[in-house]
């Protein structure tokens, strides 16, 4: 077996080594870089997807919170409204009741006054009657003659009426 001398240039060997490097580049690219890059990209996509999902979930939660708060404030408003309404109604009703009571009291008083008036009139009438009776009897006794009691009464009544 012969040896090459330490420095000897052979064009074919140079070309072979050049092509070797090209082939190895292809090998490294195809069998190392491509699969690894693919895996790295797959992982990155998965992570990105996770992040997106987390972000969406957070946004959803935020939205829910806002909705809840809005609903809460709406409910508070409604309850305030209801209470105000009820207060107003109660006030109105109480006023109504008080007014009705006052009316009734007035009515009762008027009735009582009317009754009293009637009573007084009645008493007055009775008294007139009594007076008429008494005077008739007195007159009869005085005159000692029987006069028509009916005529007599009418006479006295007219007299009494003239008194008024």
């Amino acid at each position: 077996m012969q040896n090459l001398s330490v420095i000897s240039v052979n064009i074919w060997n140079v070309l072979i080594s050049l092509v070797n490097l090209l082939i190895l580049t292809w090998i490294v690219k195809k069998f190392l870089f491509k699969p690894v890059m693919k895996i790295i990209n797959t992982r990155r996509e998965a992570i990105d997807a996770d992040y997106a999902q987390a972000k969406a979930a957070r946004e959803q939660a935020e939205e829910n919170r806002l909705n809840y708060e809005a609903a809460m404030s709406a409910a508070r408003q409604t309850s305030d409204q209801i209470i105000a309404e009820a207060t107003r109604t109660a006030e109105y009703r109480s006023n109504e009741i008080v007014a009705a009571a006052r009316d009734k009291a007035t009515d009762i008083r008027r009735q009582a006054e009317a009754d009293a008036e009637l009573e007084r009139k009645k008493a007055e009438d009775d008294m007139k009657h009594e007076i008429a009776d008494v005077s008739a009897r007195l007159t009869g006794k005085l005159l000692e003659r029987e006069i028509n009691e009916e005529d007599h009464r009418a006479l006295i009544d007219s007299f009494l009426n003239d008194l008024d």
Binding site: M1, Q2, N3, L4, S5, V6, I7, S8, V9, N10, I11, W12, N13, V14, L15, I16, S17, L18, V19, N20, L21, L22, I23, L24, T25, I27, V28, K29, F31, L32, F33, P35, V36, M37, I39, I40, T42, R43, A46
Partner: protein
């Protein structure tokens, strides 16, 4: 195939494939050792020579000589292919195997190195740089097995440097041939020959730097080895029988020196070669001229389409 199913790492099939891939890494190197042992002639004394010639074919211009460098390079390439396949065997998005971390580390480091040194425009060159580093480093490191380093052969490193030179020229011509030609006469026309030499010196210096470092390491190792055997023979030659023939002094010291000359120097040169490739290629692009040229071409195209319409 959108997403590979999680491989059963413990299955027999997975392990068998793993074993085959490991064999693919180791067997070429073993075959080289066997070949070396079979064909190396017994020799005395210091022998510093180039690669051993295995075969020779007639071809135009020069005979094609298949030497140790070529065979060793091919074996190293097969080993690297095996390594790539082994590292990417059973890749999953969740990284089940530890080797996946190594593979991702390698890829990301190379990508980062290329992106930071060449710019994002050249990010597609990462596999090329990785291939240069792997081929150069492993070619240098197989001398640890007592094999001939292909990087110690100027033809091999010159082939790589020539490829880099073509790339540099390709990117330099992007600014236009005329611009490139004018550039040679800058800053003053007297510099033209020097500039021209400078263009061609890049690949030659790259090739010889790498080759010289590896070869000098090998030469020094051989010299120290033979010197130590000579010393051993003269100092311990009195030992009885075959013990006198064993060069005891060669135990230890050459290994320590080998860490520098073979391991450190080999890896260092691989890194330097890759670094120079990156810097030279990325520095070769005349961005302004190229942009101006693209602009011009665009305008011409518009004019043509207008006149056609």
């Amino acid at each position: 195939m959108t997403e590979a199913a999680t491989p059963d790492v413990k299955s027999t099939r997975f392990r068998a494939v793993d074993g085959a891939l490991i064999a693919m890494m180791i067997l070429p190197i073993l075959a080289l050792i066997v070949l070396k042992v079979l064909f190396t002639p017994a020799a005395d004394g210091v022998q510093i020579a180039g690669a051993m010639i295995y075969a020779e074919f007639e071809a135009p211009v020069m005979p094609v000589i298949i030497t140790e460098s070529q065979i060793n390079t091919w074996a190293v390439m097969i080993s690297i292919l095996g390594l790539c396949l082994y590292l990417t065997h059973g890749l999953t998005a969740k990284a089940v195997c530890r080797r996946q971390l190594i593979a991702e580390w390698i890829v990301e480091k190379c990508q980062g190195l290329v992106n930071s040194n060449m710019g994002d425009y050249f990010s597609a060159w990462a596999p090329f740089i990785a291939a240069i580093m792997a081929l150069s480093a492993f070619s240098s490191l197989i001398c640890l097995f007592g094999l001939f380093s292909p990087t110690g052969d100027v033809n091999v490193t010159f082939g790589w440097a020539l490829l880099v030179f073509f790339l540099i020229m390709y990117y330099k011509f992007r600014g236009g041939l005329w611009n490139y030609f004018i550039g040679l006469f800058k800053p003053i026309p007297v510099f033209a020959p020097m500039n021209l030499i400078g263009e061609f010196s890049t690949p030659i210096s790259m090739a010889f730097r790498h080759y010289g470092n590896v070869l000098s390491g090998a030469v020094i190792s051989a010299l120290i080895g033979s010197a130590l055997s000579g010393l051993s023979k003269s100092l311990l030659g009195w030992l009885p029988g075959f013990l006198g023939d064993i060069p005891f002094l060669r135990i230890g010291l050459p290994a320590v020196l080998s860490i520098y000359f073979d391991v450190f120097s080999g890896v260092m040169q691989a890194f330097i070669f890759a670094m120079l490739t990156m810097l030279n290629v990325s520095g070769a692009v005349p961005w302004e001229e190229w942009a101006a040229r693209r602009e011009k071409r665009k305008k011409l195209k518009e004019k043509l389409s207008k006149s056609a319409a």
